[in-house]
Subunit: 273 residues, 2 copies
């Protein structure tokens, strides 16, 4: 089908998802519709990117609802492979993203990004799309996918789409459905604190001071535990040393049994100290 | 150019090489010419598949001679990237082939197959070819490439081409040029012993006995050292237990400072013991 679209001179965009679609995913589809004549959405809850103690079995699933939402958003093709199709017997090949995949999430979800990089490589190649859209919400994942598409010469353009938020600032996530009412009231602090972190950094505070302040604020707001709150180079994800380069503040924190992540741009400062 | 060929409805085959072309490579090109309208040959001595103590710097190079030979053999396009094009700054992504890449060569050339799998993935994707031809001489490499193309859904057919040999049985290899006259006289024992190994195995001898016999014969013939002589399942490369499945005898042995490899099919036996 994609080959026929290409023969007709039409462009094709891919939006890979794990289903449980919310307005954030539909924004990706709408963004894709603006870039290409046809939009493919894939729905695949990839087992290889979940750790043994993570939420693979309880990850929210709603295939019928997802299909209706995708059609409504303008998607031309829904691709929902099963695990046996994606990983046939004797499947053995893996894609790794090197240093980009080592810090941050990888410290708490070892192996996660090898699962992501491998399945995304497969989806990009299976789809034969011209463009693929990914949300900035999963910022480290986005950088890894940009890198692997470039490094492996996959003939596709990776398009980043800004995070979609609730009116109170909470980034949309399928995992928000796990939150209790109390936890949901605390959750917006994640974005609020990151915004303040960016402002304090722009005003000249050190990365260490700002990160320590942000972590303390999140615990004070009611988060149970932080995995990390770090200020990093926006491209390499190494610790941010050169303030004249774009930075990114990234956070992962726990509310009860739910782990939330978010991130915030740190514009380069002209008068770098 | 490849896109234009495809638009015209023509098929394209790729023959990846490291240059220093001999009759074995040209057989690959001729084979490719029989399968596709256009043949691309790549010439790239890939630094990432050489170990720190291997022969990267002294690996034979002859770009002008290679180009003339390729044109003569029917190649339409010669692709000779430099290392900076293949591995731009911050290159980080690697492809690994899992269990297939663990035994045999990997025990003596750790990291070699990650280099091979990564560069071959890039070449397959860069070329956008329909078919890629690889020689059976590098049998473990061939199995890894078949697996990665399938596992990563690279839209290409991998075609295996039988090893080309000198009249005395020595498999053609760019590394044969390192051999002294004395070593060259000993080298054909590699193929002769593998042929006898296959005959003894077919006659019912155990894998252990046959492997031990073959190793002793090679040392007696004048080889300085063996890295391995193993009988393996031809698809999984695990130790050959089920004699009703196709097997493969694989060897790596040293003549002075030159390491030679070869392999031989072990047909499945109908009355498996």
């Amino acid at each position: 089908m994609v080959a026929a679209w290409h023969r007709a001179g039409d462009t094709v965009a891919l939006v890979p998802t794990m289903g449980a679609l919310h307005r954030g995913h539909l924004t990706l589809v709408q963004h894709a519709c603006g870039l290409a004549r046809h939009v493919i959405a894939s729905v695949f809850v990839n087992p290889t990117q979940f750790g043994p103690n993570e939420d693979f079995s309880r990850y929210p699933r709603d295939e019928a609802g997802d299909a209706a939402k995708l059609v409504g958003a303008g998607c031309s093709l829904l691709y929902a492979p099963d695990a046996g199709e994606m990983y046939p017997p004797n499947f053995a090949t893996t894609v790794s993203a090197g240093a980009l995949a080592e810090p941050l999430e990888n410290q708490f979800r070892p192996g996660h990004f090898t699962g992501v990089a491998t399945v995304v490589t497969k989806l990009l190649l299976q789809s034969q799309a011209d463009i693929a859209c990914f949300g900035e919400k999963d910022y480290q994942q986005l950088q890894i996918i940009r890198r692997l598409a470039r490094d492996l010469d996959i003939p596709i353009r990776i398009e980043a789409v800004p995070t979609v938020r609730e009116p109170d600032g909470l980034a949309l996530s399928s995992r928000n459905s796990y939150l209790s009412d109390d936890e949901r009231r605390i959750a917006p602090a994640l974005h609020r604190v990151l915004t303040d972190v960016a402002a304090r950094f722009a005003a000249g505070a050190s990365t260490q001071d700002v990160a320590a302040w942000g972590a303390a604020e999140l615990l004070r707001a009611g988060f149970a535990k932080l995995d990390y709150l770090d200020l990093r180079d926006a491209e390499t994800l190494q610790p941010l040393v050169d303030r004249s380069r774009p930075g990114r503040a990234l956070v992962a924190a726990w509310l009860g049994k739910t782990r939330l992540i978010d991130n915030q741009a740190l514009p380069p400062t002209k008068n770098a100290g």
